[in-house]
Symmetry: C2
Subunit: 193 residues, 2 copies
DNA sequence: GTCTATAACGAGATAGAC
DNA sequence: GTCTATCTCGTTATAGAC
């Protein structure tokens, strides 16, 4: 009789995913151009050619990084829209995504890639722009008012706040700025904390 | 009789300044780690060792870049404080500095260095943090209200807005966000444009 | 001050064995 | 799918002539 196909151990991901995990963390910390195949290989205990087997070029690795990051990011936005009620609460949840990134000592992947924009391959550039467009579209949708500039203001402030608070190693700064931002956008009650 | 010492031609700067000029533009476009001595040497029509004569190491070049950029930046802030009257007008002038950077297709030097923060030598890190601290202090001083978080909100938003508008090649986006930002901080009249 | 020449290293990438 | 070995190129930096 044939053996039954069982699910693999939940904690051990396939190699490609493990590569993406390490690469994502390193890129969000140092930037795409300051992460090498050698850095990733050492952490995983494999050699550089092994990485090239899974991602032919560094550009291909970059493409895969943004694709996975974006997919997960917008899944979170879908969940917020489905589970959270009210503009203020939804914005707080949105801010929470950025706060979690900062708490991990990282920048938003597409934020740090935006800073490196001029040095990126064309496909990565488009994917970065797409990330911001979709963020903006989501914010416009959940905001009650019609001003599209509010969505841009929110994105720009949060991306800048993460970048600077990370350099200052001061997550409290991020929290205070985000509170002031959200309060100015949704003039209702103050932060319930 | 001895010859009179005349002022050098105004347009031709000394070599060290010329190196800083080219390096500054390249770093504000691509980031510190993506600018090489070779890039700078080619533009100036000199060789790499010539650059090393003026700036022993790349870290020393980076230190000099931030020092000059900061000095000029805070000179501008001094001038605004001396020549411009009123919170709104001063903030508009402050925003104008960032708008000019964006118009040149650049990021704020310390903004792009903040994104690269984890890879910078220690002295450059301190200088970057100092830049933001002094910006914050200046904003707190010219603002009428006591909220220090407002100063942080302004810096973070402008830095993020420059970063993203540059990637999107959309300076109009920057202008609209900045207008919304300043209006929310100084609830007086709308943009006089 | 600027040059030629070169050292010493790390990058991304490929060939081919296992 | 992962390895060893290697290639080619770019990087910062230095020695020493002019």
């Amino acid at each position: 009789m044939s053996s039954v196909t069982v699910a693999p151990p939940a904690v051990v991901r396939d190699t490609a995913s493990q590569i993406l995990d390490v690469a994502e963390r390193l890129v969000q910390s140092r930037g795409f151009n300051d992460v090498s195949y050698a850095d990733i290989a050492v952490e995983l205990g494999v050699t550089k050619p092994s990485l090239h087997y899974h991602f032919r070029s560094k550009a291909a690795l970059g493409d895969a990084l943004i694709a996975r990051y974006s997919a997960r990011f917008f899944e979170q936005l879908d969940r917020i829209e489905a589970d959270v009620v009210g503009v203020r609460a939804r914005l707080d949840a949105y801010v929470g995504i950025y706060a979690a990134v900062l708490a991990a000592g990282r920048m938003c992947l597409c934020g740090i890639l935006a800073a490196e924009y001029q040095t990126l391959p064309e496909k990565m550039r488009s994917a970065v722009l797409d990330f911001f467009d979709r963020n903006e579209a989501w914010l416009e949708r959940i905001l009650d008012e019609s001003s599209r500039d509010t969505a841009k203001l929110i994105i720009d402030t949060l991306e800048g706040a993460v970048m600077i608070a990370r350099a200052q190693n001061d997550s409290d700064r991020f929290d205070r700025v985000a509170e002031r931002l959200v309060s100015s956008v949704v003039p209702g009650v103050a932060d319930p904390r």
